[in-house]
Amino acid sequence: MDLKDKLLSSFIAFENNVDLDNPIHEVRSEAIKNFEEKGFPSKKEEAWKYTSLNNLQKVDFSVFPKQENTLEYRDIKKYFLHEIDTYKIVFIDGVYSSYLSETTHDGVDVCLMSAAFNKPMYKQIIELYFNKVASKDESLTTLNTAFSREGAYIYIPKNKAPRKPIQIIHFATGNEAALMLQPRNLIIAEENAEVQIIERHQSLTGNEVFTNSVTEIYAAKDAIVDFYKVQNDAKTASLVDNTYISQKDNSVVRVHTFSFGGKMTRNNLNFYQNGERIDSTLKGVTILGEKQHVDHHTLVHHAQPNCESHQDYKGIFGEKSTGVFNGKIIVDQIAQKTNAFQQNNNILLSDKATINTKPQLEIFADDVKCSHGCTIGQLDEDALFYLQSRGIPKKEATALLMYAFANNVLESVRIPELKKRINKIIANTLGVRVGFDL
């Protein structure tokens, strides 16, 4: 039985476990119908030209974990940003772990999707926001919608900001077998609210893990949302991350994606600008080796005048790794005075590594400033020589230059501890130990 059939048949079992009177039931049924029709995307589709899901579909994934697993904090502490105090929403094999988490209802809601789905007090918000910006015909998104039950629910009311950043961590123990997870997150920042979120998927097993995650983010007027995705997973884990962002007037949303780990990672990052004077920032650092594969697929849809978007993706690809960048900017006819910038720089370290990039512009308005730039190259030999002539070994010098290359993206990270952590991961990935804090 292939994965699609398995998922379709488990949907019936899944439905038996959830409340059928819930209005969400209808949304789920619609969604599974769409997935049944479309199935997993194939390389024949333009959007999946460079990324194949074929191997994943051959794995016999367990769709529901059979038993509850627990973890000791000291074993997994290193995966948390433990240097600072944060709210934590922790899932183990898709099940909420209250023991490891720290949620709140004090002024802001930092809790669970399952609670939001079932408690009457959230009914109105769920009706207003759930599955509204997420695609209703992209097959993997609808697959997630069909199985949406658990994930992080963050609601920041007007003029509020939580006291500390929020961490969302999904652990996969995968003790039994290969595991498929489908977390669903909903983040709403009301007018003038502000929130910082760090998200991480972490597999703790040698078994295969496939995560198909969907996150919806709504930023109302004047809201500020910072979202950091740390993708430093085990080499047996695959991730499809679908993020949909809807922005209103004057809002600022910044999404940083740090991709170092994982076997196959596909990021579908979609920004919809539904207001004026919006600022959207998409940044990413990708450093890969072995046979890793990371695909950044971004969309910024400028639907209203006077907005801005900034994209900056840096990639360093070694060994047999593959990097894909497909950035799309759409500027509607009424979106005059749009400023949209896109930058994608890549360094190839090995002859076996591949980079496929397709920065794409679709522009229907005339009074706009849109540009994209894309480069593929090597480290500057002169700069390398300069550093070596000053006594820095080649390996460290290389690392320094690569670090400098990626630094632009790190500059806009607004949590200093996170920045430090990312620096450490970069140093680790590059395999160097330099005398100062990289």
Binding site: E46, Q333, Q336, N346, L348, L349, S350, D351, K352, A353, T354, I355, N356, T357, K358, P359, Q360, L361, E362, I363, F364, A365, D366, D367, V368, K369, C370, S371, H372, G373, C374, T375, I376, G377, Q378
Partner: protein, 481 residues
Amino acid sequence: MAYTEEELKKELETKEYEYGFYTDIESDTFPKGLSEDIVIAISQKKQEPEWMTEWRLEAFRFWKEMEEPEWANVKYEKPNFQDISYYSAPNKKPKYNSLDEVDPELLDTFKRLGISLDEQKKLAGVAVDIVMDSVSVATTFKKTLAEKGIIFCSISEAIQDHPELVKKYIGTVVPQKDNFYAALNSAVFSDGSFCYIPKGVRCPMELSTYFRINQAGTGQFERTLVIADEGSYVSYLEGCTAPSRDENQLHAAVVELIALDDAEIKYSTVQNWYPGDKEGKGGVFNFVTKRGICEENAKISWTQVETGSAVTWKYPSCVLKGDNSIGEFYSIAVTNNYQQADTGTKMIHLGKNTKSTIISKGISAGQSQNSYRGLVQVNSRAENARNFSQCDSLLMGNRCGAHTFPYIETKNKSAQIEHEATTSKIGEDQIFYCNQRGIDTEKAIALIVNGFSKEVLNKLPMEFAVEAQKLLEISLEGSVG
């Protein structure tokens, strides 16, 4: 008088196609439709050898299995391939020895197009192989070329006179089954140009062919084959205009360039087929496959000025097979009213130290859609490949669209690739700056558009640059000085 962008737009909308006349020449036309019999009939009509007929039939069989491509960013009503006549030749044969013998109506057509044969002969020193509908009617300067050993004739003549060259090279760059339209062309191509430059010869003049679609309801399927032998150089020009027709006309040409070691081919195109009226009715469908292959140290340079056609689907490409080979692509694509253009290039780096440059300028006005679609591919053995791409779009008015689809695929760490694209309109500040220095708005727009396309216009051969200017004027009159 102050000239505003509004006025320019209005003028653009009402600008009629200047070359939209129709010459009544008796034609020898085949019945409509396509089948193996028609393919054989075309081949027989042209008295082709058997291997050519077989080659055509093979292509036809591939074509039958293929589907029309749909990935391009253009929308149009698909042509009915059974409703097209696949062969049409001007009737008045045999070939003329002097211009006096040529059908006066034909000569008149050329005059109105601004291609007076004798004038061209004397003034420009250009050898013109005129393709009227499908059959080559007149070839000039053949003697001069023959002295150097250069072969420049129609492809049907080449099949008769130089079968060994045609047989060796045809289909080597664009195979029959390359794509839907290439397969169609391979099966039914009626005529086209053939050019061979011997070893070490530098072609003393620009070779030029003017294409024209004339007879109603006939598709035109040109096949061009240019071979530059080791160490030779040739500059080849191709220009086209077509009369006004309401019915959509299909044009599916194939151009193959072969640059052997140390050779250089410069291929320039000015395309100004009927773009349809301002409601978007009629116009030519232009689905062209152009590709060149570079052996060691060879260079191929494509320059194109695309102003016509209702739908354009065209990607002149370079396969950089030999070490140190160079590919270049310079393009201006202008779309107005309801025109749609999906054009760009492919640079395939296979050899070491290969270089490619892509400069693409898109200008869209009215309700047109203008897309750049390009591929830069560096294979794992292409050490030190270098590419620079730049695609700029200029939007005039807010009902048109500009799109960029650049694909970059790199498998070699020593590759250096740069790509940049911008989209903008003519800045108010730019116009203001000009006004401030006493340049009126009309001239300012002309200056800016001209400057915007300069990099590409500069690449055209002198004789052609004038023509290109003329054609740009038709599409964007008032904006190009």
